[in-house]
Symmetry: C2
């Protein structure tokens, strides 16, 4: 018995903003699992901004995608056949083999999933990599203190929306920026103190004024998902001894030519700022702490999440592209079945 798996391959490397033509849908035959192997049918897959970087042919913290090969990323799947004593038919598993409907594994890199009553796709979002990113970046790099002001750019995204809520739990005043009135309204509804629709502030000077008005006592921790003019505005509004946690810079990922950096970086000296970037793997060994915190916050009803779901593997490229046009509210997911 063989099964046909559908997968999305990198057809060509995007130059600038990716388009549908950079992706291709292909079918491959997946054989029956051999001795020690399992056959997985993916049920959900994740698309994330960091995948844009992997589409470039450059050395980085994670190898680039290869043209003609399937993409990969986090996915949740179900064991449909097993010749491996560690996995039984029906088990849920987390893997890095997204962007395909089926695959064979010898179990390496598969993590059996106990959902603790959460929906399985939560492990691609709040209870997964984006959740650990928000928790580790804010608490261990940003180190907010009660009463401080935390500003979150890209606040309605998978990571940003958690950063906002964790900062509220820690007793901070929280300001967020997002790209639509609907996103801003949702952020207010989950307790964010002040929100900026950055599309209302077209030039840099206006954005600087908006940041200062939304954070009249200055910013102590700036959680960066956006870059560009957002970073310039933050540097103007930062308080002495402020911390800038650099999680992402989605505004520059599709640049085809180098864009000038912030002209006001000199503030790092007189304001004694710390600007620190990170990759989520830095917090892997703190996962138990993260899970404990998250469990308590969920039990107390302190965390709200949003999802945007596209259906079917053939729509995965479109889901990915929407990350760059603001088409997602909260975690962007692709449901496969």
């Amino acid at each position: 018995m063989t099964i046909t798996s559908k997968e999305i391959r990198l057809a060509s490397r995007p130059g600038g903003m990716p388009t549908a033509s950079n992706f291709e849908l292909a079918e491959v035959e997946v054989p029956a699992p051999g001795d020690g192997e399992v056959l997985i049918k993916n049920t959900w897959m994740s698309v994330d901004p960091y995948m844009r970087g992997r589409m470039m042919d450059r050395k980085s913290y994670i190898p680039p995608f290869q043209v003609g090969q399937p993409l990969d990323g986090h996915a949740v799947g179900k064991v449909v056949a097993s010749n491996n004593k560690d996995f039984a038919e029906g088990d849920l598993v987390l893997s890095m083999l997204g962007w395909r409907t089926h695959f064979i594994s010898d179990g390496a890199g598969l993590q059996k999933l106990d959902t603790f009553g959460l929906p399985e796709q939560a492990f691609l979002g709040v209870a997964g990599m984006p959740g650990l990113t928000a928790w580790g970046g804010l608490l261990h790099i940003g180190q907010p203190k009660e009463g401080e002001t935390v500003f979150v750019s890209g606040a309605a995204g998978a990571v940003g929306s958690l950063v906002c809520q964790i900062a509220k739990i820690k007793g901070c005043r929280v300001v967020g920026s997002a790209g639509s009135q609907e996103k801003c309204d949702w952020l207010k509804s989950v307790g964010v103190d002040e929100v900026i629709n950055y599309k209302d502030h077209k030039d840099q000077a206006a954005l600087i004024n908006a940041f200062k008005a939304a954070a009249p006592e200055g910013i102590d921790v700036y959680f960066e998902n956006v870059g560009g003019d957002h970073l310039v505005a933050a540097l103007e509004a930062m308080n002495t001894n402020g911390r800038i946690v650099v999680c992402g810079m989605i505004s520059v990922y599709n640049d085809t030519a180098p864009k000038p950096g912030p002209w006001n970086l000199f503030h790092v000296i007189a304001k004694s700022l710390r600007i620190e970037g990170f990759v989520v793997t830095a917090f892997m060994d703190r996962t138990p702490e993260f899970v404990k915190d998250l469990g308590e916050w969920f039990a107390a009803g302190k965390i709200q999440t949003q999802e945007t779901v596209e259906n079917g593997i053939e729509n995965a490229p479109d889901a990915f592209l929407k990350l760059f046009s603001g088409g997602n509210k909260g975690k962007m997911l692709v449901k496969l079945d």
Copy 2:
């Protein structure tokens, strides 16, 4: 009895590179010290790059200089008359009242100087603010580990030359940049492993190549005194988990219009970099530690210093201006007597 003190005032705020016309020499009558007061005759005064920032009318960590008023800054002087029981005639004192030949004080802000056998002007350099800046910035922010590569821009300056030598003491490979062959030769003579004369590398691409060639295993700690293209090149050459200590950015202090920042700041994410600025006051409470380290290093002959000396209060503006044209080797001082 009154004494005539000569002082240098800010005649006008510089727009861009300061010139002699921004300064004026004036004379004021200093009365005999009253009850509880001392009369000080300055013997040495310091000129430092940070003073450029104080010439602008803006809020910062230290108040701006005022037009028509004397400048100030660190100075060493001698008590020539005293009606204060804490000070005797002949005592050496450190004060913030430089840029003048004489002044009256009630003792507040005066620090009696025990030179421990060092020349008195050392307390404006290696044993003073620049020394504490180098020690605190490198060891407490940069946190270099034995065997790591430390890159120091502006390496032949008062701060940079100490950073280089402290990094060598800590077992690091040290690379420095400076603006003349003579400065590079001196840096080599005090043990710096590799030096770049940045004037040999006119464009950004050439400077990036020079940084990479001088630090083939990458940079772990970059100590920034310069900014501009130097920072771009450092970002390209940094290793994962590298630290960028931002002490100064002398290349931008005289800009009249905002200059674009580094186009490659995005490296902070994938390389997990920390960029941290500071002001020397952050390390004031660690002065005893600093003095202990420095004493041991001097006793062991591990620290060499250079001075560039101008004579007379009337030449203080010229000494200050030379900081921006690379006219100083090591600490720039003005001898007053």
